[in-house]
Amino acid sequence: MTVLTKERTLEERIEALETALHSTGLDSAATDPLAANRVCMVVFSGDLDKVLAALTMATGAAAMGTDVCLFFTFWATPVLRRAHSGHVDRPVIDRVLGRMLPRGTKGLKLSRMNMGGLGTAMIKRRMREKQFASCDELLEMARESGVRIRVCDMSMDLLGIRMDELIDYPGLEQCGVATFMEAALDSCVTLFV
């Protein structure tokens, strides 16, 4: 007589699950003990509310002892510009783009209810009154807690933004999709904001 069902111990069940996971080939995050402690995020949006959400999660994760890496791309790239950055010797299109895109966190708008800037100003005032951390404060906290920032080389090229225009942030470097994908494959959490 064959035993069809058998009470399995927790260890046996975990072992079976691990074997099944290994066979999928998708287990790097599950078996690499370091991966369990890594978070990476694509910051795509340049909207004030979304940048706030991304930076809040990043600083929160860092405060939990997690290794965090942020990849700024497309509309989020100008968020990293310094408030005052000159643009000498640039093609006309780059200068026009440079003037239209926000210079750092100050020029960001809400994704909804901007109302020609009135909504954004109101929300910013409420944030100050309620002692919410601003984008600049969150960036400072990120710097302090060792959050790494990478910026998409293609977005910079497309939007005419140069490295010397960007904020002074430790280890801030340009990268491409391979750098992001490597980080994502080695992380247990990847977010797109």
């Binding site: 809040t56 600083t59 929160g60 405060a63 939990m64 002892g65 002692q131 951390a133 906290m141 807690s145």
Partner: protein, 74 residues
């Protein structure tokens, strides 16, 4: 009590950012008392302690103020 941290008035993620910062300066086994009035603090400090391995010795609530005793992991 080895250190006290007043996080009242601070909003997410600042209270736990401060807890993390202060606890790092303390010796393993040191006891930190945190007061906070962010409504998110209760669930957040519990999750934070579970995740970081620090010991949430006590969590009290007095009206809208929370007081947490956190022991730094050894």
């Amino acid at each position: 009590m080895d250190r006290k941290l007043d996080a009242t008035g601070l909003k997410c993620p600042k209270p736990l950012f401060e807890v993390s910062r202060v606890l790092k300066e303390m010796e393993p086994g040191g006891l930190l008392e945190v007061t906070a009035d962010d409504p998110a603090f209760k669930l957040d400090v519990e999750a934070w302690c579970r995740r970081t391995g620090n010991d949430l010795v006590e969590l009290r609530r007095d009206q809208s103020t929370f007081t947490a005793l956190v022991r730094r992991a050894g």
